[in-house]
């Protein structure tokens, strides 16, 4: 989809008037739908639909060896699959650049121990740890991928339960683990500090949150902030364009505010999620 100059001007004026093309204010989100436990093969999963943006996130847990320089910590890996269903441009290896960009960003946002406690994933110092694979499947792109993915990732991690390791025995070089077979005693991950990302898209003199793909085309650069418990875990600029240092600070403050609001909305939504509700693509 490419926009003409007139359409771009129309969007620009709408942003200036604080009345966007779909009737939202500059700092409003589009409606979201969140479902969890939709993939049975995974330890935890979530699907988020933010208007036309559709992502599925699943979490799988495997046993691995910790990094030698961080023997007390587990691992987490993000993998993004840009499905060609979203746009024909992703066919073959077309989505790979976008995928690396997003996975690097997520890795950076989740890199700190105060954001996600990796020591909880350690089973035996230097020998065994849990490795969390977070697989993200992008099914439709309707703008604002970063926000949607970060919400879905957080929901999927919230949904994840890790098997309980009852006991670990060391016999020479062999490490034997006794994993509880009782499905009910699983460990839930602590995701209270997991970051949520907010994209602030600069259009004209103002910033909008949750841009549609049309608005993304009009943007002169965006700034993405990852907010974890009111603190910034990652900030970066993208999409060309530059800002004055003072404007930058303003945007960051706005980002933190929106991030906190999003966080509240998400935890409220998660608390309302019912088990075994009707869900999936059929509805």
């Amino acid at each position: 989809m490419t926009l003409s100059e007139a359409e771009k001007t129309f969007i620009l004026h709408g942003v200036q008037e604080n009345f966007r093309i779909d009737g939202r204010n500059r700092d409003d989100y589009r409606p979201m739908e969140l479902e969890t436990s939709i993939i049975t093969h995974a330890f935890g999963s979530a699907r988020l639909r933010l208007a036309n943006t559709d992502v599925v996130v699943t979490v799988k847990v495997e046993i691995d060896v910790p990094f030698p320089d961080r023997p007390l910590e587990g691992k987490m890996e993000f993998f993004i699959d840009c499905s060609a269903n979203a746009t024909p441009d992703f066919e073959g290896r077309g989505g790979e650049n976008l995928a690396t960009e997003i996975s690097n960003t997520l890795t950076a946002a989740y890199s700190s121990n105060s954001v996600f406690d990796y020591t909880k994933l350690c089973i035996l110092k230097g020998r065994k740890c849990w490795k969390i694979y977070v697989d993200i499947l992008i099914l439709e792109c309707g703008g604002n991928l970063y926000d949607a993915i970060s919400i879905a990732v957080k929901a999927a991690l919230w949904n994840t339960s890790i098997p309980l390791v009852k006991s670990v025995t060391i016999d020479g070089n062999n490490v034997d683990m006794n994993v509880s077979e009782n499905l009910s005693d699983c460990i839930k991950l602590d995701i209270s500090a997991a970051p949520l990302m907010v994209t602030l898209c600069k259009i004209g003199d103002h910033c909008v949150v949750d841009p549609t793909s049309a608005e993304e085309q009009c943007s002169q650069g965006a700034i993405v902030v990852a907010i974890s418990k009111g603190k910034f875990s990652t900030v970066f600029q993208t999409g060309g364009g530059s800002l004055h240092p003072l404007t930058l600070m303003e945007k960051l403050k706005l980002g933190a505010k929106v991030g906190n609001r999003l966080e509240e909305a998400l935890s409220e939504a998660l608390s309302k999620i019912k088990e075994n509700g009707e869900m999936g693509f059929l509805n």
Partner: protein, 255 residues
């Protein structure tokens, strides 16, 4: 080699089906708004999404364009979480390339290719959950997506698997469990109304004498699948029609 009985003495399979019973098929057309056509199908636990883009101008190498037919471009992709063991890559391996080619072959038989010369149709399928019979589910989903996109097809193109149990009994729609335990799997893609077979693929071996019965079972499965898809399409049209208003003006559309 001791093989588990795939059909018990009372004639029930591992998941409680009879030999000629399909798994439950549930499907929906038009799940996404970005593609020109899209569909979602569940066959038992196997879940597949399909999206269709086109017909549009040929992308990439313009020299590929054909004067007499539309180019069908298919991509088969499996989500990394679709299997119980995590996959390394969603596509690009030999199996998915092969399935992409097969899918293309199946769809060319159904689409009226000569209607859109110099153009291209993209069909993308994404497996969300693999539990046996992936390829048939993909073909069925692609058919629905093509219908949703409004691309003229000669008739439904359906696929089904069949196998042989206990060395003599043919059974239809093989699940993942049966795939592992049992031996041979016959996959056919057919045009059920004209009873034409478009593609037939087999893994492992069984005696030639059994081929006829297994093939008939598979074909029967295709016909049944077609009926289910047909019902879904009609329901979809009524729904869409009702929301746009034409259904209320005339008499009630026959369900």
């Amino acid at each position: 080699m001791s093989r588990k009985e795939l059909i018990s003495k009372v004639g029930l399979r591992l998941d409680g089906r009879r030999a000629d019973e399909l798994r439950r098929i549930r499907c929906k057309l038009g799940v996404f708004s970005e593609p020109d056509g899209s569909a979602y199908i569940e066959q038992g636990l196997t879940k597949v999404l399909a999206a269709v883009y086109g017909p549009h101008q040929v992308r990439g190498n313009r020299l590929k364009a054909q004067a007499d037919a539309v180019i069908i471009n298919c991509q088969f992709s499996m989500a990394v979480f679709s299997t119980s063991e995590r996959k390394k890559r969603p596509r690009g391996d030999r199996k998915s390339t092969e399935l992409s080619l097969h899918l293309r072959q199946a769809l060319i038989a159904a689409i009226e290719v000569e209607k859109y010369p110099w153009s291209q149709i993209d069909v993308y399928v994404e497996v969300l959950h693999a539990d046996g019979g992936i390829f048939p589910a993909c073909v069925n989903a692609a058919t629905l997506a093509l219908i949703d996109a409004g691309i003229p097809i000669k008739e439904y193109v359906c696929a089904c698997t069949a196998s042989i149990a206990n060395n003599n009994q043919a059974m239809v729609d093989i699940s993942h469990e049966e795939e592992i335990l049992g031996g041979p799997t016959l996959t056919i893609v057919a045009l059920p109304m004209s009873e034409k077979i478009v593609l037939m693929e087999m893994s492992q071996r069984f005696h030639l004498d059994h081929l006829k019965s297994v093939l008939e079972k598979a074909l029967e499965g295709c016909k049944n699948t077609k009926n289910i898809l047909d019902q879904a399409v009609q329901n979809h049209i009524v729904d869409v029609g009702a929301s746009t208003g034409w259904a209320s003006t005339g008499e009630k559309v026959k369900r």
